[in-house]
Amino acid sequence: MNDAHPFARYRSIIPRWDDFQRALDRPLPTCVWANPLKITPPELEAHLREQGITFEPVGWRPGAYRLQGVARPGSRLAYLAGLYEIQEEVSLLPVELLDLSAGQRILDLCAAPGSKTAQIATTVGPRATIVANDRNFRRMRPLGRSLDRLGITNTTMMTADGTNLPGDIGKFDRILVDVPCSCEGTSRKNPDATAATEDDFARLCSVQRALLKRALELCRVGGRVVYSTCTYAPEENEAIVDSILQEFGSRYHLVPARLPGFAASSGLVTWRGEHFDPQLKDALRVYPHQHDTGGFFVAALQKSSD
């Protein structure tokens, strides 16, 4: 334990720092979820056993499994046939917090590469409409393949600047804003990921705020917007949500980002002398040692008026 650690700037906010450091040295487990359009969880479990694949159910998310000792899960029969989708466990969180139900109109504002879109589309059922957007056409290609493989018919793809979507796109009941970020929380699978710098904040934070602001504008009254990142930096997390609450606080409020069986850390209300809206304790911070995952941040905002 020393200050030369790449994430030492977060030492004061990360509980059980030694456990955190040790977790970063372990490989990230492979997580998959059963595609309800093609197979039930018990059927997938039976199939995995038949194929000699060892797995462990993810306790907090029915139908999700950690595979053990599978080198290339994207080459297995179950993947090729669209029976499961591969998605990091912690990135299942924001969609679970969208509070989805049948018939909703849902926007995934920064959708590429699309695992969360697929999770939304298969969770919410065929009579919903999902619009998956990303400004990077090339990064959207995997989503097209996933939709084909998984048999998803309720999703529309488009490539536009999410900060500048026209009003003609219409209003949405639910919006996921999984913004581009410094990706600190992905260091277990991407060793190049390191602590964000002031340059990163200068490049990212204005875009993150603009994306969240546009999402809130496109949300129907009574609807929900979930903001998420895979980074620890409060500058990209609480500070972004706080700035929106400061400017438009009367129209939006945070709802607790909590899921049964998934205990993690509350959002911060102070960071390096800066004070955030007290509602931000209802945001969720996930550190790798808490659930043997990557790092993540989620905040869920409800819109109360236009």
């Binding site: 199939h47 194929q51 080459s75 090729l80 669209g82 048999g151 536009a160 003609d168």
Partner: protein, 191 residues
Amino acid sequence: MDIIPVTADDLDLSLHSDLLETQNLTLVASDPLLAHVNARFGFPAGLFDELVFLQCSHKIIRAASRPLQLPLAPQIDRTGIDFLRIDMANPRMTTSAMMTWGRHATSNAVDTNQEQCLDYLRRLPIDLTPDQLRRCTGRGFVIVRHLGYPLGVGFLESTRHSDQNCGHLRSMYPSAFAADLEQTTPFGNPS
């Protein structure tokens, strides 16, 4: 096969009057399309009732879920999944459509053994057994499955025992997918 344009009203869809033109989409009647695929694959009645069919180009008919609440703007890249290739003498269901609905097929579906499945995924031809051949009605496209799970499309050259190529099935597994399987197998053992 006839492609018959229809209106949103014909399909009881509540769409903005400019939407289809703005997004360059044409709604098409399901009847001739489904008559074609049902005749070949024996899908159960009602299987496609919750879908609408859209022509997006001269090549492809797409299938998308109702109620199709598409944006008026900006321009979309795609909606739903590719359902039918129509730029050929005999229109065929796409790989994605076969994978999505192929488990419901009652005819012209080939349930492969592991060796045949591997060959199919490597885009190699396979020879069907007499029992597999009995479940096929004649030359044409078939659904290729393994353990009951549909994987894609094949082309059966002939079911006539007098033909030299009787039971010969050409793999039409997408080459991009097959490339992903180089140096591995879907069953976990080294290739």
